[in-house]
């Protein structure tokens, strides 16, 4: 429990906030650097010759001269450290290099893919939120049967592999009922199935946490206190407990986004959507190192930004966090 602080609380809080923000930014920069470094060196471990990849992969019958030429052109004959520093230097200017396979700048390529994937991920996040909140509000604290049903739904949803759920959804809603297109046609209708596919398992996870915090909140004295003021049970749910249920969901959103991006690899393949996940899968198969690095960095950046965002929004939503000393 917190109690009255000895120093001027507001000044102290501002100090904490500034310090906290500083730590956040420093942490973010560090993570980006570390991810870049790690990826750079990890990729050296990948078997296969980058020059080969540039020349169309191992199936091509590139000549020795062509290989040598490419090595020179791409600086692959330089010592590793030089290559590393060169990469860092380029990163600082926002240059992600050029795709081996597609011969276009990685930044342009990913720039075109980012929007779609983020739209997919964010819509899924929102839908997962709605589903999870709805389910936990519906099934919590209304007796054993609905609790059991709710828990069953949550656990099942969380255990559904994306590729399988997608297949079932396509079988039902596209092939069976013909309501929705099985491929993302760029129309809103085309987004429905991919978003649902991604959202349902995530909702399963979120609902599990929300249920717990909801239960927790419903047993708090402030609920009785609100009712003593004449609030109805529905009013209590809407005005009080929902917020508490939502809190862990907010702080999980950073993780959830990463999880969604993982799922996007599968979902984008199945629904034939352009996006980072599919780009990554293709780049991995083709050993297109600049693209792999670019996607990894981009995802790390999104993750880092999301962490900052969830941190900030958790603090806005939950003033208790603002009071706590820094971790």
């Amino acid at each position: 429990m917190t109690r009255g602080s000895p120093a001027d609380p507001r000044r102290q809080r501002r100090g904490r906030t500034i310090r906290h923000a500083g730590l956040l930014v420093a942490g973010a920069v560090f993570v980006m650097w570390a991810v870049a470094t790690l990826t750079f060196f990890a990729i050296r471990l990948i078997p296969g010759d980058p020059a080969q990849a540039i020349l169309g992969g191992p199936g091509s019958q590139a000549s020795q001269e062509a290989l040598d030429q490419v090595r020179r052109d791409y600086g692959l004959d330089q010592p590793l450290l030089v290559q590393y520093l060169a990469m860092l230097g380029r990163l600082l200017t926002g240059d992600l290099g050029s795709s081996y396979a597609l011969k276009v700048p990685v930044a342009d390529l990913l720039g075109a893919q980012l929007g779609g994937t983020m739209l997919l991920a964010l819509l899924s996040l929102v839908l997962a939120w709605i589903l999870a909140l709805g389910l936990s509000l519906w099934s919590t604290g209304r007796g054993r049967v609905s609790t059991a049903v709710g828990e069953g739904i949550e656990l099942t949803a969380a255990a559904l592999p994306h590729f399988w759920l997608a297949a079932v959804l396509i079988a039902i809603f596209s092939s069976g009922l013909g309501w929705l297109p099985p491929v993302a046609t760029g129309t809103p209708a085309g987004l429905v199935l991919p978003v649902v596919t991604l959202a349902v398992p995530l909702a399963g996870f979120l609902a599990q946490v929300m249920r717990e915090s909801l239960l927790d909140a419903m047993q708090q004295p402030f609920v009785v206190s609100a009712r003593a003021r004449g609030e109805s049970t529905t009013g209590v749910r809407l005005r009080h407990t929902v917020r508490h249920a939502a809190l862990p969901g907010i702080s999980l959103s950073g993780w959830a986004l990463g999880w969604l991006l993982s799922g996007a690899v599968v979902v984008e393949t199945i629904f034939a959507m352009p996006g980072l996940g599919r780009t990554l899968l293709q780049a991995v198969t083709l050993r297109d190192i600049p693209v792999v690095t670019g996607v990894v960095l981009l995802i790390a950046l999104v993750y880092v930004l999301m962490t900052v965002l969830t941190d900030v929004s958790s603090r806005i939503a939950d003033p208790r966090l603002r009071q706590e000393a820094n971790r």
């Binding site: 429990m1 917190t2 109690r3 009255g4 000895p6 120093a7 609380p9 000044r11 102290q12 100090g15 904490r16 310090r19 708090q220 004295p221 402030f222 009785v224 206190s225 609100a226 009712r227 003593a228 003021r229 004449g230 609030e231 109805s232 049970t233 009013g235 005005r239 009080h240 917020r243 508490h244 809190l247 939503a317 939950d318 003033p319 208790r320 009071q323 000393a325 820094n326």
Partner: protein
């Protein structure tokens, strides 16, 4: 205004309120007292139809402002709540939604019961906050409960309860968990309402609190009212032994050395006890004075790193405890009492100054050197439960503590330890989680004694217990301290408790010791204004 007859509440077959009847007229304050679990809170909540979804409530009569509510539905109840009866819940610190601004919480009853434009509502909220004595109403309305201190939260809660000027207020333990000075202010605030004609149902386990406000007192035990009468009648001429025990259990005013839990003390014995106590105080242990203290803090300072600099929690504190002596340490919340205890236990290192244990500067030792000496100093905490390994049962806890004595002294058996603290041997097989608060605290004492310490550090050992249990624990501690000649550092925020337990007291404020001396002298003639304020604020059974 409130007229209840034969109120009964049961939870799944067990009746916890058994036939309570009470009436409250305008401007009258009726108090319910009774030990923990006697059904006070359930009664209060049942009066608003909030006993709980699993509760079965019945009554012969349940009239609020003349309206019979015995068979009211949820909608009807919703109209009654806040408009006719304001309820201030027991857990003041957690009774406000931590995620909503306080102003919105107070606005709720206005929004739900009255057609009022939002601007008018907000103005009214500020006015209410002003009325309950909030220092900065505009700021408080924007803040959330976590940003307010306990006292301010309690005020906000009261503001919400009186938002619609209900003719009847129910206040359930409105001052528990608050510092004495804050408690005094809240009680004064409630008194103003009754003066203005509001009826008040005050619930407390502390007779001293009730005495100041109540016109009539109901004593509850096991869900039933066992005694009822005007304040003067109940306190002056208690009819039941239970009431007498409640009165006796109040430590303030009961002199040092006199047991609190013995109910029907013969007057002679009382006089005698008082006499011994007096002598003890007036002759301030000359024999001990010459000896060097067993435990001493010598100009100790401790600071903590906080976001914008360092915060001095303990500031140049010196104190000493001699063998066979109890030093009381009082002070408001956050004044640094626990930090002093941790310094004494060498759990944290002082920034400057020394902690000396029996001549050894033990705060300067390395932990490995200190370890053999550790059994000489024992500790008892406020929250006994969290000081036990959750996986262990009582027997294992005690055996483990006893076997830790590396001095070779034969460890007292578990059974003997339990017996010493007045627990049955069968308790050894239970886990602390399943014990009552009083039992847990006894186990904690047994554990502290297992290693046969010479010094005992007690940090708020009874703050979580209700008066009757508190009385038993205090008696136990007192007896053990005397019989074993322990030196004791006794920390509490409750002046009455400290006064009863301590030979000497030190008063802390903001990390410093502002006053120290023989207990009776400090309380009788406080030298420092802060001490004087504390003493004045502290509720007593007799003036």
């Amino acid at each position: 205004m409130l007229d209840v007859a034969d109120l009964r509440v049961s939870f799944g077959g067990t009746e916890v309120v058994r036939g309570v009847s009470l009436r409250i007229s305008p401007g009258e304050c009726v108090a319910i007292v009774g030990e923990s679990g006697s059904g006070k809170s359930v009664t209060a909540r049942a009066l608003l139809g909030l006993a709980g979804s699993n509760a079965r409530t019945s009554s012969e009569r349940l009239r609020v402002r003349g309206r019979e509510l015995g068979s009211a539905g949820e909608r009807e109840w919703q109209r009654v709540r806040a408009r006719d009866v304001g309820l201030i819940l027991q857990d003041a610190l957690v009774s406000l939604d931590p995620l909503r601004p306080v102003g919105r919480e107070i606005e709720d009853p206005l929004r739900l019961h009255e057609r009022m434009p939002p601007t008018a509502r907000r103005a009214r909220v500020l006015e209410l906050l002003h009325r309950v004595g909030m220092p900065d109403p505009a700021l408080a309305a924007r803040q959330r409960s976590g940003e307010l201190s306990g006292g301010l939260r309690q005020r906000a809660l009261i503001a919400a309860a009186i938002a619609l000027d209900p003719p009847l207020l129910i206040a359930d333990e409105p001052t528990t968990a608050l510092d004495v000075s804050v408690q005094a202010r809240i009680l004064a605030l409630l008194a103003r309402f009754t003066a203005n004609g509001t009826g008040l149902l005050l619930i407390s386990h502390d007779l001293a609190v009730v005495r100041e406000l109540a016109d009539r007192i109901l004593v509850m035990r096991d869900g039933a009212v066992i005694e009822e009468g005007t304040t003067a009648e109940v306190l002056g001429a208690p009819r039941t032994a239970y009431t007498r025990a409640l009165i006796a259990a109040v430590p303030s005013g009961t002199p040092r050395g006199m047991p609190l839990s013995v109910v029907d003390r013969p007057p002679a014995a009382e006089a005698e006890a008082v006499a011994t106590a007096r002598t003890a105080i007036e002759t301030p242990l000359p024999a001990l004075r010459d000896q060097r203290p067993l435990l001493a803090l010598d100009h100790v300072t401790k600071t903590f790193e906080v976001a914008d600099g360092r915060f001095t929690a303990v500031d140049d504190v010196s104190l000493s405890v001699h063998r066979g002596e109890t030093l009381g340490l009082v002070g408001e919340s956050g004044s640094g009492k626990t930090t002093v205890a941790r310094l004494a236990l060498a759990l944290t290192k002082p920034d400057s100054g020394d902690v000396v244990l029996d001549g050894t500067e033990w705060s300067r030792l390395r932990e490995a050197e200190r370890r053999p000496m550790r059994p000489r100093i024992g500790a008892i905490y406020q929250d006994a439960l969290s000081s036990f390994d959750p996986r262990w049962n009582v027997g294992r806890i005690l055996a483990d503590a006893a076997s830790g004595t590396e001095r070779g002294a034969p460890a007292p058996g578990v059974a003997a330890l339990l017996q010493q603290v007045g627990l049955a041997a069968s308790v050894a097989h239970r886990r602390p989680l399943t014990l009552s608060g009083g039992q847990r605290q006894r186990v904690a004492i047994a554990r502290a004694l297992a290693a046969s310490p010479e010094v005992l550090i007690c940090d708020e050992p009874v703050s979580a217990l209700d008066v009757t249990i508190q009385a038993q624990i205090l008696d136990l501690l007192d007896e053990l301290q005397r019989s074993r000649g322990l030196a004791c550092l006794f920390i509490s925020h409750d002046l009455g408790v400290v006064r009863h337990m301590a030979d000497r007291v030190a008063v802390m404020q903001g990390g410093r010791i502002v006053e120290a001396g023989a207990a009776e002298q400090v309380f009788a003639q406080p030298a420092h204004p802060y001490t004087a304020q504390l003493v004045a604020d502290s509720p007593r059974l007799v003036h």
